[in-house]
């Protein structure tokens, strides 16, 4: 099987406010264990309800860094190469509780926030929600389109 190289979107074709990507990520408890192992973040509030309850949480939460990590993926797929992401920042505003049976679905909408034609850089603003509530604030990536 051969795959053709992804085509980088051109800055000229973009307008502030355009939605460039959207995606939903169904998380399960398994996703959290996998991320714990991959990242080395073994804080038990991400896999043990008893520990989560003991510190006053409703139950096991997704790692904020997992939410941050998946939220950029629709942008990576859109630009075709994760190396085009020059800068990425988020604020962790609300937790994502992951039910042992139902899991949690995190939804990402990526919009053009600003365009810098001279630098060839687009600022992409992410709206990241769980149960229709925003969980990341000021979630922005600067991507190179040159």
């Amino acid at each position: 099987m051969t795959t053709s190289a992804p085509v980088t979107p051109s800055l000229e074709s973009l307008t502030v406010g355009d939605i460039v990507a959207e995606s939903s990520f169904p998380l399960t408890r398994d996703s959290l264990v996998r991320y714990a192992g991959a990242s080395g973040d073994f804080n038990p509030i991400h896999y043990r309800d008893d520990v989560a309850h003991a510190v006053g949480l409703p139950g096991v939460l997704a790692h904020g860094m997992l939410t941050m990590g998946l939220a950029i993926q629709p942008v990576v797929d859109w630009v075709g190469d994760s190396a085009r992401v020059l800068d990425y920042q988020v604020r962790f505003t609300r937790p994502v509780p992951v039910d042992p049976d139902l899991g949690a679905v995190v939804t990402v909408i990526a919009k053009v926030g600003a365009l810098d034609a001279d630098a060839g850089v687009a600022r992409i603003d992410l709206t990241v929600t769980f149960n229709s509530v925003t969980v990341l604030g000021k979630a922005q990536a600067r991507v190179s389109l040159v």
Binding site: A38, G40, M68, L70, Q73, S82, Y88
Partner: protein, 148 residues
């Protein structure tokens, strides 16, 4: 105990070098739901101009982690781990991380601020490659809840 404001500006010793393994990048990529071939397939990565597979944008947190552990363990910092909440995170890249990189991270406490009984500690970990060239700066703001 509250956060010691005197740690602002403190630079910690560099942590031992982190060798970025190809399988670690693949494992991390799967964990963050990456699907791009350049995160998994060396041929696809080379075709895109990279020397090996490329790590996802948030992979730098794996390298940064040891520097945050230094900060939390600093005896006079006054940061109670059980009261810490991750407030903000940022990665600013000069170039992407690729498998085979040997990365060294150095943490500097950029600021310590008080806000309504809580402390906000901003830690800036500068990550360089084996030649000393800048790769990425990982910045975390930790919110340390004050006494109730």
């Amino acid at each position: 105990m509250s956060v010691n404001p005197a740690i602002q500006g403190r630079v910690f010793p560099a942590v031992p070098p982190y060798l970025v393994g190809r399988e670690k990048v693949r494992e991390f990529s799967r964990a963050v739901f990456a699907t791009n071939p350049i995160n998994f397939d060396p041929d696809a990565a080379r075709a895109a101009g990279h020397s090996d597979i490329v790590a996802p944008p948030t992979f730098a947190v794996v390298v940064q982690e040891a520097t945050l552990a230094q900060l939390l363990a600093e005896p006079d910092a006054g940061i109670d781990f059980t009261r810490v909440v991750h407030g903000d995170q940022r990665f600013s890249y000069s170039r992407p991380i690729v498998a085979g990189d040997e990365l060294t991270a150095t943490l500097r406490v950029a600021s310590v601020k008080s806000l309504g009984g809580h402390s906000m500690v901003t830690a800036e970990s500068t990550i360089v490659d084996a030649t000393g060239a800048h790769v990425v700066t990982a910045t975390s703001t930790l919110v340390v809840r004050g006494d109730e």
